[in-house]
Amino acid sequence: MIEIQIRHQIFTSSGNKFLEVNERISEGSFVHVSGDSGIGKTTFFKILSGLIDPDFGFIKLNDKILLDTANKIFLPPQKRNISLMFQNYALFPNMTVKQNIAFAQTEKDENIVDELLENFALKTFENTSPSKLSGGQQQRVALARTLAQNAEIVLLDEPFSAVDIAMRKVMLNELLEFNKNNNSTLFVISHSEEEFESFSTYSLNII
């Protein structure tokens, strides 16, 4: 069970708002995160992953407390075992596609890297710098890298925004497969309701 209680002030162009999330989510869920632009979805992900310390928060993953502001508990991102796919991909320019994916692994396994390269149709670009890829290809690398980490919770910020419909299906299948095999909990931000309607097991609408 994942228990989340967050209250955090965010600053937007239309004024200050409070991001409030109170949810109890079963492990292994496929969570579709929705909400208007600028409502704080990315901030929510950064709080979950430990990149932002919220004004108030309590996050518990089974028996492990990741965050408890009342008791001054704050596990750093390195100790949370939560992977995050950034909206702008955050690929490392000094590494090749293959090195980017391998870097995310906690336990090195080249077979998994090769499998991901194959499944995401990246084999031909494995020794290419990410800067030389198109937006869609970069997004595939970012998703492959996020899955390579094999984390308990996977946060995906607009993972399919730059890929075509055919590739979207391939990537979605990969995600579902990953979700099924690893019992990881997936949180996916997407503006497209229909895309995840039939797959998601939990809907989290931030207002």
Binding site: K46, F86, N88, A90, F92, N94, S129, S131
Partner: protein, 227 residues
Amino acid sequence: MLDQDFIYTLLLTGKLALITTVILILIGIPVAYWLSYSRFKLKFITETLISMPMVLPPTVMGYYLLVAFSPENAFGNFLQKYCDVRLAFSFQGIVIASIIANLPFMIQPLQNGFSALNDDLRQASYTMGKSKIVTLFKVLIPNIKKSVITGVALTFAHCIGEFGIVIMVGGNIPKETRIASVAIYDQVQALNFEAANRYAFVLFILSFLILLLIYSINRKTNFTTFR
């Protein structure tokens, strides 16, 4: 005899520049990292102190260091008495002076490099479970290579041309503290323009080549800004 002096002086100049640059890169990376990512409210005071050598006359800094290094004063006396180290008018003394004088030339390019880098790279590395040290050496430094090269080249070049602070702290002792810029001044004082010209020509060419290197690197595409 003159040739041997010339070679010794140039070697001493190179030795000073090399030692200063190596020590400054070791100091500069953690300091620039801290200045770029720390939320400490008073860090602007540290930034001001580091930048002081850029605006302060070298003779002023040299004077204060000379006073501090003097065995007549507490610090210099302590070093001489307990560590058997004499900093005034010695090579060690001009190394320390040179490190202080060149702090901004190393730290500012590194700090600019860290600050210009997309912070998502650092954060992505952290979410992958990588420590701050691993992130620094595997992600951050390789992506600010241009800034590192600029810092190293600027420090080395500036150090080669250092004059005011060296003559104040080290004087003009052959094979000990007489570096090329001091030798030029010395030769001009002795109206030996031919020797002064040889030193000046070497410094001119070296400075030109180092700046040429910096500008040729900065011409290349900046890969850190994509997406």
